[in-house]
């Protein structure tokens, strides 16, 4: 499988605190990659580095075979337009309705007229599993789960190739979280997305991820299929995957869903 994202030797530091040092990571086309790690290991910083919100002190980030850090701005923006990012708290624009939030990139980047953008926005909102009347609501009127779905609809607005998710299920109830997992899986299979996900949710990792990257000791300790990662010889990883919560999640997960590109999930979550 080809790599869509290749991170090589990245070093991130804030003042004297080094977060990443010599970090390498591959993300393959069409996979769902979960990035896990303890608090403060720089999971979100890694995501921000790849999407271009944070410039690393050293190293390279290439996406679709092009080095993002060395590209001229216009070229770089063109590539970044193929990203969809779901921020942890949604980051919906509070002065716009949900439909306007989703329509904004369509009007600004794809050059659509307001009416066309509104129709496509309604489609994305429905794809993200929101009821049709959610479009005219303001973010302040939505529940936590609906905000995540609305933010997902906005992230999907331009039909991105790569979807970045920062803790997509954090703060959702178990039913909502499971439905969201299912939705990600369905969209990945239907739209052929590559998904880069920062998560703490062991259930998410066991049910929908293809590969897992573990951040520790300022780099990616291991980046492989779940069963390989779970057996990796490291105290933190053992604690994480074989602690009480890890064991429970492993037992609960239906193993059939772990195969990549499982196309039996045609329906909506």
């Amino acid at each position: 499988m080809t790599n869509v994202i290749e991170v090589r030797g990245v070093r991130n530091q804030f003042g004297r605190q080094v977060v990443h040092d010599g970090l390498d990571l591959d993300v393959r086309r069409g996979e769902i990659l979960s990035v896990v790690g303890g608090s403060g290991t720089g999971k979100s910083v890694l995501l921000r580095t790849i999407v271009g919100l944070n410039r690393p002190a050293a190293g390279s980030v290439s996406v679709f075979g092009e080095d993002l850090l060395g590209l001229p701005t216009a070229r770089r923006v063109a590539i970044e337009r193929r990203f969809g990012v779901l921020f942890q708290k949604g980051a919906l624009f509070s002065s716009l309705t949900v439909a306007e939030n989703v329509a904004l990139p369509l009007i600004e980047h794809a050059g659509l007229k307001a009416g066309e953008a509104a129709r496509l926005a309604a489609l994305k909102i429905a794809l993200a599993g929101l009821p049709a009347n959610a479009g005219e609501k303001y973010p302040a009127e939505l529940s936590g789960g609906m905000i995540k779905r609305a933010a997902l609809a906005r992230a999907l607005a331009l039909d991105p190739d790569i979807l970045f998710l920062d803790e997509p299920t954090a703060g959702l109830d178990p039913i909502g979280a499971a439905a969201f997992d299912e939705l990600i899986l369905t969209l990945r299979d239907a739209l052929g997305l590559t998904v880069f996900m920062v998560t703490h949710d062991l259930d998410t990792i066991y049910t929908i991820t293809d590969r897992v990257a573990v951040l520790a000791q300022k780099r990616v300790l291991v980046n492989d299929r779940l069963d390989v990662v779970a057996d990796f010889d490291d105290a933190w990883i053992r604690e994480y995957f074989h602690g009480p919560r890890g064991r429970a999640a492993a037992q609960a997960a239906p193993p059939a869903q772990r195969a990549p590109h499982n196309l039996s999930h045609g329906g909506q979550a």
């Binding site: 509070s94 066309e116 129709r119 489609l123 794809l127 302040a140 039909d159 239907a190 045609g266």
Partner: protein
Amino acid sequence: MTEPAFIDIDGRQVRLRGDWTIANYAALAPDVARQRSRIADTVDVDLGAVGALDTAGVSLLHDLLGKDRLAALASGESPLPPERRALLQAVAGVIDAAPPAPRVAGYAFGDIMEHAGIGMLAFWRHVIDIAGFIGITLETAFHVMLRPRRWRITSLAANLERTGLDAVPIVALLTFLVGAVVAFLGATVLAGFGASIFTVDLVAFSFLREFGPMLTAIIVAGRTASAFTAQIGSMRANEEIDAIRVGGLNPVELLVVPRVAALLLALPMLSFVAMISGIVGGMLVCALTLEISPTMFLSVLESHVGLRHFFVGIAKAPIFAFLIAVIGCLEGFRVEGSAQSVGEHTTSSVVQSIFIVIVVDAVAALFCMEMGW
């Protein structure tokens, strides 16, 4: 990078080519609208030559071919590869659930009337809110006043520094300039009557009675009312006010009373600074353009201007202070959870407090005139 997309209609065969993606959406949409009517129910659809396809493209396919044929293409019998069928299925499954939002037709005259009515009601409710909030603040303040253990000295001192001390430079500079301008004005007008010496009276009267307290109050309304609203408003947006309530504490006692008390102390002091600085500005202009020396200026000031003018002016400062602080805090409590709401209420608190300062000043001027003070 993107291939253009085409619709070829050849008798009973519809052939679609190119990339049916968001990048071609704007170009394809009119084509689709034109060709839709030309496609009969019975024709064959060939998607074999379609390059890239995304949800925007599928939405166009839905417009072009209709719901039934899209469902047929997505079903098991179609010759499309499985991942493309999955995409068609996913979009076809939700596209009917997503009707375009209906636009509510406007009616200009009715809208204006409705707007005016809503505005009137909101204003009336607002007046009641302010009166209620003043009551709550006074009640809490009397409660706290009798119990020195509940005085929040730290908060009071911090607010006093921010609202009083930090405002001294801007208040002094602005009133100095206005003082100079008033003196120039007086010099120009009064010289025609040979009464240049009365420029001193003009500057002194205007600053002691009106400009000192009012200019200060307007500056403080812009500086401090907005700060109070933004502080309390973002605390409210962050559920901190609720946390205070749940913790068995009184947000009015914790947040409002120290701010009101601080401004009650700060504004009279700032007004005094403003009076002095305005008179100094006038004095400088008198010395430079009218050859009235500072010594002469001060002796005229002493003989012509009674102390009561100072009291009339400074007595207004605490009233302004109370109103500005109460409006600033109340608008903070009215914030509803979003960054935009914080902005709206901050603007509103500045506008209201400047409005009320000028209204109260005008009423006070009339009152003092009638009383002969």
